[in-house]
C-alpha cells in the first residue's frame, strides 16, 4: 500500500512544478522506483538483524543456558569453525533433495500427461495417489528405509514422493487449461496431437508447473532431512539428530541454518528460472 502511494508521487509533483521536462519526470520516477526496490530488500534485512541483536542480548540477560538456546554469536562461531563438517554433511542432503526433486517432478509431469490423454488412467490411479499422499511422510519414511536399505535411495524416494503430489495436481490442471477456442483453432490448422502437446498444452501449463516446482524445491529438502532422521550416518538430518543427543545446541542451530539456507537457495533458483522463462505471463510477474 505504502509503495503504491509513493509510486504515484512523481506525477503529482510534476503537475505542481509544471516546469520539469518529460525526461526529467521520467528519470525522477525511475529513481524512485529503484529506491522502492532497495527498500523492499533492506527492510527485511533490518528486521532480521534487529531480532538477532535482541536474541544476543537476551541470552546473558535472562541467563539462558547454551544447551537450551545458544546466542547467535555462538552459532556463528560454530558455522565458522565447523564449516568443513557442515558442508560435508550438506552434500549428501543436497544430492538427495535435488535427486528426489528431479525424479518426483519428472514422474509427475509424465503421469499428468498420461492423465490428460487417458482419462481411464486418471480414474484408476488418482484416488490411489491421494491415499498414498495422505500417509504422513514420517510414517512412509521407515517403510522405505526397510525396503531400500540405509543408503541414499530411500531418502531420494522420500523427497521425490513429497515433490510428486503438488506437481501432479498442478501439471494436470495446467495441461487441461487450454481454452476451447484454442483447441478449435488447432483443429482448423490441422495440428497433430504431438504439435498440440508441445506447442500449446505444455507451454500453457508452465505457470502452473512453476508454482508446483517452487513448492517441491522447498519440500524436497524437508523430505531428504526426514529420511535421514530414520537412519543415516551423514547428512543434515543425521547431524541434527547427533547434535541433539549430544546437547550440542550451537551445532544443532548451525546445522539448521545451513539446511535452511540451502532450501531457500534452491527455491530462489526455481523462482529465478520462472521469472526468466515466463516473461510473457504478466499475471504472475510483479
Amino acid at each position: 500500500m505504502v509503495d503504491a502511494d509513493s509510486a504515484t508521487k512523481p506525477f503529482e509533483r510534476s503537475t505542481e512544478a509544471g516546469k520539469l521536462s518529460d525526461d526529467q519526470v521520467w528519470q525522477e520516477f525511475l529513481t524512485r522506483q529503484r529506491r522502492l526496490r532497495w527498500r523492499r530488500r533492506i527492510l527485511p534485512a533490518i528486521t532480521l538483524v534487529t531480532l538477532l541483536v535482541l536474541w544476543e542480548i537476551a541470552v546473558p540477560v535472562f541467563d539462558i543456558k547454551a544447551y537450551v538456546a545458544p546466542a547467535p554469536s555462538a552459532i556463528a562461531k560454530v558455522l565458522y569453525s565447523k564449516f568443513g563438517l557442515l558442508m560435508s554433511n550438506l552434500l549428501p542432503t543436497a544430492i538427495e533433495a535435488i535427486g528426489g526433486f528431479l525424479l518426483g517432478t519428472g514422474a509427475a509431469i509424465l503421469i499428468a500427461t498420461l492423465f490428460v490423454y487417458r482419462l481411464t488412467a486418471e480414474e484408476a490411479l488418482f484416488p490411489i495417489v491421494v491415499m498414498i499422499n495422505a500417509v504422513p511422510i514420517v510414517a512412509k519414511a521407515p517403510i522405505l528405509v526397510l525396503l531400500l536399505g540405509n543408503g541414499m535411495a530411500p531418502k531420494i524416494i522420500i523427497a521425490s514422493l513429497i515433490c510428486f503430489f503438488p506437481t501432479l495436481v498442478n501439471m494436470t490442471r495446467g495441461l487441461r487449461s487450454v481454452s476451447a477456442q484454442q483447441m478449435e483453432l488447432m483443429h482448423v490448422l490441422s495440428a497433430t496431437p504431438r504439435e498440440i502437446y508441445f506447442k500449446v498444452r505444455l507451454k500453457n501449463a508452465l505457470p502452473f508447473l512453476f508454482t508446483a516446482l517452487k513448492i517441491a524445491a522447498a519440500a524436497s529438502v524437508v523430505g531428504a532431512i526426514v529420511g535421514e532422521w530414520i537412519g543415516a550416518s551423514r547428512g543434515i538430518g543425521a547431524l541434527i539428530i547427533q547434535a541433539t543427543y549430544a546437547f550440542d545446541s550451537p551445532l544443532l542451530y548451525a546445522t539448521i541454518a545451513v539446511g535452511s539456507t540451502f532450501s531457500v537457495a534452491f527455491f530462489s533458483l526455481i523462482a529465478w528460472a520462472e521469472r526468466r522463462f515466463l516473461k510473457w505471463n504478466v499475471a504472475n510477474s510483479h
Binding site: L189, S190, T192, N281
Partner: protein, 267 residues
C-alpha cells in the same frame, strides 16, 4: 415447418465456395437433445462477402463450424470449394477468426502470425504469405516483435486476422470477431476488413449480432431463425463498392436495416 434455401445473388456460373445440402446438426446436452441446425440448404459463391445474423440460439456459430470442419453434421452433406470440408481444411483453404483472438501469449506478433505454417505434420503448408506484408495489411507494421499482452483488444484481433490469412485461404470464416470491441475500433476494423477482402479476393462468411455491421459488410445477409436453427432469408445489400462508413447514412442502407429488422423480429 418451412424449408427455406438460400442462393447467392450472383451469376450461376461462378464457382460455389460453400455448399450445404439438407444439413442438420443435433447435440446431446444435459437438458436433452438440441437441434442446432435443421435442413440447411445453402450455396455461397466464391469471392462473395456474406453476413450471417440471427437471434441467439439460431446456430450461426454452429453453421460456421460445420463449414470449417470443426463440427461434423448429423445429416446432410457439406462441400467446401468443390471438395469435402475435411479436405479443404487440410489443404489450408479455410481461415477462421474467433471472437477471442486466441493468440499464444508466449509468442510475439510475428510468431503468432506464422503459427499455421508450423502445424500439420506432413501437411505443413509450403505456400506461406509474407508475414510482414500481412502484418502491414492489418495495420500493425512495427509491432512484429511485440507480445500479445502489450497489445489492445483490437490489435490482438488484427493479429488473429493476419494469422488466418497467412496460408492464403480461399475462404475466411469469422465468428463475431469484433463483438468484444468498442464501437470506434469496430468501425475502423469493419472498413479495414472490407479493404482486406477486396485485396485478397477471398470468400468471407461473417457471423455478427449487429444489424449495422451485417448490412455494412455483406454483399448479402443470411438470416437464421432459432429453435431449431434454420434459414429464414437471404437478402442482397444494394450498396456500391468500395464502401465507406459514411454510406451508413444513405437512405438505401437504412431501408436495408429496416427490412432486415422486420424479418429478424419474426424469427
Amino acid at each position: 415447418m418451412s424449408i427455406a434455401s438460400a442462393e447467392a445473388v450472383t451469376a450461376s456460373d461462378t464457382p460455389i465456395a460453400i455448399e450445404l445440402n439438407s444439413v442438420g446438426v443435433r447435440f446431446v446436452t444435459d437438458r436433452g437433445i438440441v437441434t442446432a441446425l435443421q435442413d440447411i440448404n445453402l450455396r455461397i459463391t466464391e469471392g462473395s462477402f456474406t453476413s450471417l445474423i440471427g437471434p441467439s440460439g439460431c446456430g450461426k456459430s454452429t453453421l460456421l463450424r460445420v463449414a470449417a470442419d470443426i463440427i461434423k453434421p448429423t445429416t446432410g452433406s457439406v462441400k467446401i470449394l468443390g471438395r469435402s470440408a475435411e479436405e479443404a481444411r487440410k489443404n489450408r483453404e479455410i481461415g477462421f477468426v474467433f471472437q477471442d483472438p486466441s493468440l499464444l501469449p508466449w509468442r510475439t506478433v510475428l510468431e503468432n502470425v506464422l503459427l499455421p505454417m508450423e502445424l500439420g505434420g506432413d501437411m505443413t503448408p509450403s505456400n506461406a504469405g509474407d508475414p510482414y506484408v500481412l502484418i502491414k495489411l492489418v495495420g500493425l507494421a512495427g509491432w512484429e516483435n511485440a507480445m500479445p499482452h502489450e497489445l489492445s483488444g483490437g490489435m490482438r484481433q488484427r493479429v488473429s486476422i493476419a494469422r488466418a490469412l497467412i496460408s492464403a485461404p480461399r475462404m475466411l470464416l469469422m465468428d463475431e470477431p469484433f463483438g468484444a470491441l468498442d464501437e470506434i475500433t469496430r468501425d475502423r476494423l469493419n472498413e479495414e476488413l472490407l479493404r482486406i477482402w477486396e485485396t485478397t479476393g477471398t470468400t468471407v462468411l461473417f457471423v455478427t449480432h449487429s444489424l449495422y455491421e451485417a448490412a455494412f459488410l455483406g454483399q448479402q445477409v443470411l438470416l437464421l431463425a432459432a429453435h431449431p436453427g434454420r434459414i429464414r432469408d437471404m437478402s442482397p445489400v444494394n450498396l456500391a463498392s468500395p464502401r465507406d462508413l459514411s454510406m451508413r447514412e444513405l437512405p438505401e442502407f437504412m431501408e436495408t436495416i429496416t427490412k432486415l429488422r422486420g424479418i429478424l423480429e419474426t424469427c
